[in-house]
Symmetry: C2
DNA sequence: GTTAGTAAGTGAGTTGGACTCATTAAATGG
DNA sequence: CCATTTAATGAGTCCAACTCACTTACTAAC
């Protein structure tokens, strides 16, 4: 009677066990959300007992954070590299916005975890994920700065507002989809947001007395820039 | 020993008791957030025993919802009335955005409850608060519709995008303040967002779009195409 | 080999908070 | 003054995160 009940002990190296637990946690969290997932359930899925989770992750929340960190790492890889292949302010802006929306579109469950379950947490701004996210939004703002530097964009709009409207707009736009209660098209949304931001930042304030000179001057500048690009010039300066 | 322990029973009419409980709940929720508030604590603050809460509110969450509903009712009163006193599309838009930001600025704790604790909840979109919020955003979109109707705004931008950028932008902008980890100025933010939206929606040619907007738009498209061609082209746009 | 040290793994707890229910008693109305 | 209704109670139940004293597999020194 004792015979069969013994050999239930499989020791693995730390990293391997951590990997198993994170894989299980990612799966359960994605399926049911953070609150609705229990540590007992995650432990079963990982093939360990509940106490083992706590050897590697001090709290359930830390487990979520690690899972999200891993996700960010995947997103980042080849993000800036791809951007380097896109030319022109409108296109570069559109690319960044489109990429962001595509992530939300492609992995709504993980994004819901981040947006609805991790970010509202009181200590979010002290977490590593907050820092990762800052880096993320900065790479989009860099494109806006380029636009200001080359004269396409006005320089009197606080960058913070621009950032908030891009990412806030994208987030609100994707809400229903994150809850699996609606669709959106990353292409159409990216066009809409990009156009609003691009025109909103364009120099020469359309809609006032410069209504004619504004766009024409802007296009003249763009043409000059394009003429420059057809030559040996590769990249524009960062700041004026 | 039995003598003193008897007369602890004060019966109140339903509405009065409900009011007491909601007042206590609002206070505690605001101070500590939803998760960190316990029903026991709320009961003590309301001067009742825990079980009494559950006579009037089926769950702790329902209690939060009622508190938030009451808050919305206060916000709404004289909202549309005030708008009627503001003339001009820019001014009306700016008023609505400013008002929204002012609410976030003036009662960050309640707004944090709504944004960070109620909205992420899975059944939020089936709740009364969601409906209230829709009504709220619609009154701002009505101003945008007026602008389209009188020719100030273009009509080819999806209203949903405009809504998402206004409210998403406002929300992102106020995040730090909601957590008491940063400030913002409702005036400056309202100016920024309003200007972005206003210029972003402004018609190209202001009344003579055939003469100016047409060619300009065509040139803009050409410029964007050329910008794309100068680097490895990543994606085609949807718009013709 | 043997053995001591280390770290992986266990599972029976503890804790705390949301929610329930059988019971008590104040108000109400016939 | 009795019957009915319903506000109020508080002792419990249930469930999930987290703890801890202990057990056992692996490793390296001798």
């Amino acid at each position: 009677m004792k015979a069969a009940s013994r050999p239930r002990r499989e020791r693995l190296p730390r990293d391997e066990r951590v990997g198993q637990i994170m894989t299980a946690a990612r799966k359960i969290f994605r399926e049911k959300g953070y609150e609705a997932s229990s540590t007992a359930e995650i432990a079963v899925a990982a093939g360990v007992v509940e106490g083992t989770l706590y050897r590697y992750f001090p709290t359930k929340r830390d487990l979520l954070i690690k899972v999200v960190e891993e996700f960010y790492a995947n997103i980042f890889s080849d993000y800036e590299a791809q951007l380097r292949g896109v030319r022109g302010t409108w296109n570069r802006l559109r690319f960044m916005i489109w990429k962001h929306l595509s992530v939300m579109h492609g992995d709504p469950d993980m994004c819901r975890l981040i947006v609805h379950e991790l970010r509202p947490w009181p200590q979010y701004r002290q977490s590593s994920v907050f820092t990762l996210n800052q880096r993320y939004t900065q790479s989009t703002l860099a494109v806006v700065r380029e636009g200001i530097a080359n004269g396409e964009f006005r320089d009197d709009m606080p960058l913070r507002i621009v950032r908030d409207m891009i990412f806030g707009g994208a987030e609100h736009h994707t809400w229903a989809h994150l809850r699996d209660e609606g669709r959106f098209s990353p292409d159409e949304a990216a066009d809409g947001i990009t156009n609003m931001i691009y025109q909103g930042l364009a120099r020469g304030g359309q809609g006032n007395s410069e209504a004619v000179g504004g766009p024409v001057k802007r296009l003249e500048r763009a043409v000059r820039r394009l003429e420059g690009l057809t030559g040996p010039r590769r990249r524009n300066r960062k700041r004026a």
